[in-house]
Amino acid sequence: MQQKNYSQIVLDHYRNPRNFGKLKEPTHTAEEVNPLCGDEIKVYLRVKNGKNGKNGKIEDIRYEARGCALSIAVASILAERIVNRELRIEETGKMEKSDIEQMLGIKISPARESCILLSLNAINKALSS
């Protein structure tokens, strides 16, 4: 049976999350929790230029997370894109549910929206801290 919610991309990133861990000397960090299910993430960013994150470049990212497959997979994919310079600071602030759905290759039900937005919110919170 086709599992609409669980593409190979999701399962792959959940089983082998990329860039997982701590970052030495981060310039920005933030934590987010999803009180509904207890998912947690802490992101570490190293940003060059501009203390408030504006006009800066994300040089590196790591994260520590605990949670469901969707929240871990999104964190992993975002981190990978940031490290590969495929995702810039200006873009993370504008990302929406539909962008993440596109990355995952699946549609997300409203009940799971908070799962896929957790890491994005943490990154944006870190950048504006």
Binding site: M1, Q3, K4, N5, Y6, L11, Y14, L36, C37, G38, D39, R66, G67, C68, A69, L70, S109, R112, C115
Partner: protein, 403 residues
């Protein structure tokens, strides 16, 4: 059993037959409950009490008739001991903000258990903070039953209230409330039993139990949402101040002062939730028709079956008593390698509804050592083939995630 009485069970979810296993959250509604409420609105709708016209008399009879049904259902001595509320949560809050406010003093103790739903914990926390009282908790043992041997130490002369759930909404544990009530009364403490998970699953006799307060949730026992029951012993309710005030609950009103109506209306301010109360009455008719003994036997069979089948899957951790006899209604578990939320999504794709999360019992989950669990919970319409679908879905999820 009785599946044809539940119209919603004909629904397809994601192209599959609906397998509804979220009954501890809310049960589905039988046809006679739905019909009773539409019948009220189509043929009898009017405000109750003091109306001279025909419709008002009919509505009053139907509403008060539901009270009689609840009285019989839990074997209360007097009909005026039955107070309608918006749910179990409001029933507990009513006790906290009337009886509790009057009777809990600085230094008093309120005894709860480690398995309480937030609705039988948070109101007491707020009261205790306000009054300078202390909350204590009956701990759990390794088989997820209450450690009864701690009771003698925990209930002291300072204990004014013992409030506990009849059946745990996470563990399914059936608590020996009769014993606990006896122990509490020996030391002069009051007892409130949260029967939200017991109503419609096991028979409840408030006189035999000796409970001072007993709480029911209508929507968890085949009734509509928005209605619950507070049972209180008459002499206690008589001495309680009003909860909310305004219309209906008064006898006479002056510019400066008012006097209160008799029980039960003293504690039911404003226009009642008439249609839903009538719906709850119909839900009790349905339960009586099935028979609580049949319900209990059916649920025990389902519980034993699910325990056995889940137990066969490696990597499944089950929370709650091991024996089907010590538990009823709910089973919480985790499948190693499959986060509960993902399991719920995968099952939903197959038309199977379960719940995941902390089930409004965060402190208990900390005790379990997990953030969240998956919970399947049962009602009269669940069948062995529902359980087979659940087990198959869980195996599929494990294979998807762990291969």
């Amino acid at each position: 059993m009785f599946n044809s009485n539940f119209p919603i069970l004909k629904r397809k979810i994601n192209g599959r037959r609906l397998v509804y296993l979220d009954n501890a959250s809310t049960t589905q509604k039988p046809q006679n409950v739905i019909l009773a409420m539409t019948d009220f609105y189509e043929h009898h709708n009017a405000n109750i009490h003091r109306g001279i016209h025909t419709l008002s008399q009919e509505a009053t009879q139907m509403y008060e008739g539901a009270r009689d049904k609840v009285q019989k259902f839990i074997n209360a001595k007097y009909r005026e001991e039955i107070i309608f509320t918006s749910g179990a949560t409001e029933a507990i809050n009513l006790v906290v903000w009337t009886w509790g406010h009057e009777n809990i003093k600085r230094g008093d103790e309120i005894l709860l258990t480690e398995m309480e739903h937030h609705s039988n914990l948070v109101p007491w926390q707020i009261l205790a903070r306000k009054k300078g009282a202390k909350l204590k908790f009956i701990p759990l043992n390794e088989t997820w039953n209450l450690k009864l041997e701690t009771l003698n130490k925990l209930i002291t002369r300072r204990t004014k209230m013992v409030a506990l759930t009849h059946i745990s909404n996470v563990l399914g544990t059936i608590n020996p409330v009769e014993k606990i009530i006896k122990a509490a009364h020996k030391k002069g403490a009051m007892v409130l039993i949260d029967g939200a998970q017991a109503g419609g699953h096991i028979s409840v006799d408030v006189q035999k139990l000796g409970a001072d307060f007993y709480v029911l949730s209508g929507h968890k026992m085949y009734g509509p949402t928005g209605v619950g029951v507070l049972y209180g012993r008459k002499e206690i309710l008589e001495n309680m101040p009003p909860y909310q005030s305004g219309g209906h609950m008064i006898r006479s009103v002056d510019w400066q002062n008012s006097t209160w109506n008799d029980l039960p209306w003293k504690l039911e301010a404003g226009t009642a939730n008439i249609a839903d109360v009538i719906g709850l009455g119909a839900a009790i008719d349905f339960i009586n028709k099935v028979g609580l003994r049949a319900v209990k036997n059916h649920e025990l069979r389902i519980m034993n079956y699910v325990l056995r089948e889940l137990g066969k899957i490696s990597g499944i951790e089950i929370y709650g008593p091991e024996s089907g006899k010590d538990r009823i209604g709910v089973i919480s578990f985790n499948a190693a390698g499959v986060p509960p939320h993902d399991l719920a999504s995968i099952l939903d794709q197959r038309g199977i509804a379960i719940r995941t999360g902390h089930h409004c019992a965060m402190p208990l989950h900390r005790k379990l050592g997990v953030e969240s669990t998956a919970r399947a919970s049962f009602a009269i319409y669940n069948t062995k083939s529902d359980i087979d679908a659940l087990i198959k879905g869980i195996k599929y999820a494990i294979q998807l995630f762990c291969s």
